[in-house]
Symmetry: C2
Subunit: 357 residues, 2 copies
């Protein structure tokens, strides 16, 4: 049975880091006879240059026929002055929505070898391992009505709508509970129920669902408090589940607690296990094409693909272990370089992981 | 000319900490013959107990006739099971809205004497001094339509609206620029213009206003990046201006960078200098009535009142200096206690500040 992967390298460092992830995938593909097959296309600024839009219909059609998408990164100054509706990010939002990728998994893991990279004191972050489950296809990102209108007095008003329906909350809450079951059985649901009705429904649904998961300890936290607690005592968290906008903010905050976002993968899943996999970091246009970028987040995203879409935990574990061994050998790209280590390029880092496999 | 202050002690530790702030105000009142006059009433849970609502009409009427409000804290487990519409927080939201307190100033300052309290490494936060200017009477907190409705398929949907009109953005942006002019002349406006139209209008208005403040260096940041940058390199910021919800999240995150939110005051101002002043921390029901709470945030809020509403910088500076001297003497309440210091009670701390005045 073949497994179809659409590779969308995108912008900036995207092509370089994706190349290394594909190298790694090829090794496990051969080793375990997985039947991985690749199609290449593009998204974001590169798609604007090629097709005139940040996500071409033909690309979307290929994505729909594929089992998984491996994405590099999107965006860069070159496209920042375009009209908003055709900027690179729109391609990302569209593919998430069109593929129904409602469950965004964003781990924030501090590798022991990189403990000093954090701006937080070691005792607060050593061993940090949080999973943020972010709702990705609903809420204020996609809510209607939205726009800029002119009021009766002639002033303009910008407005957006934040809607969540029961079924949307249920399916993402379920992912939160299930992930917690696979980990330390603690789930913290984050909302702003003291102010917003959409959060009140959110809290009600999550609370009711807890009965189905008696082994999971559920707590609720307001988003402002969550933003504080992540700084104050980040290791109190295991899995956090939250809406699209809060998840955007909190997952970035949590990732920075590790001090090394060049290490953090992400997965965006639909209801049937199809997924899009991409590093949590951006396109880093300043170092693009210089063979300097850290490919590990993308390599770890490929591992998530093997685990969540292809249900092949063995190869995923193998890749994750190889990444750890590579760090043990003190090989570091520039972003995670520290004294006494050996600085390597993007491709050298990829080759080093391959060597460990 | 008398200056009317409405004192709303509220819940939890509110009464204790407000008492100390009034003690301090009395000293500068005598010293400078300021003509301060107090009226006492209550808000939040205490108001629910007394009046059946978290903000009584009579209290609101008194607030409207006053020049400034000094608030302790609201909320506590006792009222957590009440119907949402009459919980303590609603009193806070109502008084902000009814008094038109659109400009919320939240400093995040790390006192050199408390440098070790932070979970961040000292080099990242030593000397931290950020001012967050949060829009407080608009956006998704108050936007209509809102509620929970039943859709055609029988599912419920919770929904909120995030509206900002030009004049609302202009007046808060102006506060941001003016505060930056009084400080290090750097203003960072935070939005999510890559996703929301309300943010696009926000960014446009702020950008246009920059022409009026050529001495201020303006930058724009997406909220997810801002949440990261606060952790990564907090001292890059001087003044940040943002909307109600983002301001709620980022100001709490920023306050926690200092490790001592028991030290952080806040001001909420209307267009004419009337203001409500309150500590940034909560009502801490667990230590209420124990004479343990840190009164310094409330005392510093009283100093902000003198500065912003009563335009009496001299007495404000004097109080701030007295707080610094008290810390220099190694006096600490339990929340900021560290080895080698002397632990003092709420009232002892208030007395110590009075002694320095
Ligand atoms: C680029 C942007 C639209 C996107 C988002 O806000 O979702 C990004 O910040 C992310 O988190 O993947
Ligand atoms: C209590 C709550 C409604 C309030 C808010 O969200 O504004 C609080 O968090 C604050 O920041 O003052």
């Amino acid at each position: 049975m073949t497994k179809k992967i659409l590779v969308l390298a995108g912008d900036g460092i995207g092509p370089e880091i994706v190349d290394e992830a594909v190298k790694v995938l090829n090794v496990v593909n051969d080793k375990y006879n997985l039947g991985l097959e690749y199609t290449e296309d593009t998204i974001g600024g590169a798609a604007i240059d090629k097709y005139g839009v940040p996500l071409a219909d033909s690309t979307l059609a290929t994505a729909k026929e594929s089992d998984a998408v491996l994405l590099g990164a999107v965006g860069g100054p070159k496209w920042d002055t375009l009209e908003r509706s055709i900027r690179p990010e729109k391609g990302l939002l569209k593919i998430r929505s069109e593929l129904g990728l409602f469950a965004n998994l964003r781990p924030a893991i501090l590798y022991p070898q990189l403990a000093n990279a954090s701006s937080l004191k070691a005792e607060f972050v050593a061993g940090l391992d949080i999973l943020i489950v972010r709702e990705l296809t609903g809420g204020i990102y996609f809510g209607e009505p939205r726009g800029i209108r002119t009021l009766e007095n002639g002033e303009r008003q910008g407005y957006n709508t934040l809607p969540y329906r029961e079924s949307e909350i249920e399916r993402i809450a379920r992912v939160g509970f299930e992930m917690a079951q696979l980990r330390n059985k603690k789930l913290c649901s984050v909302d702003k129920a003291n102010v917003m009705e959409s959060s009140q429904l959110w809290r009600e649904i999550v609370t009711n669902m807890a009965k189905e998961y008696p082994d999971v300890e559920l707590s609720h936290m307001y988003v402002d408090n969550a933003a504080m607690q992540l700084v104050r005592l980040p290791k109190q968290f295991d899995v956090m589940v939250t809406d699209n906008m809060f998840g955007d903010i909190l997952s970035d905050e949590a990732s920075m607690l590790t001090g090394s976002i060049g290490m953090l993968p992400s997965a965006s899943l639909d209801a049937n296990g199809k997924g899009m996999y991409e590093p949590s970091h951006g396109s880093a246009p300043d170092i693009a094409g210089k063979n300097m970028a850290n490919p590990l987040a993308t390599i770890l995203s490929a591992a998530m693909m093997l685990r969540y879409t292809f249900k092949h935990a063995e190869s995923a574990n193998l890749i994750e272990k190889a990444v750890g061994l590579t760090l043990d050998k003190n090989l570091r790209t520039a972003d995670i370089m520290s004294m006494g280590c050996d600085k390597v390029s993007t491709s050298e880092m990829g080759n080093a992981v391959v060597a460990e496999l």
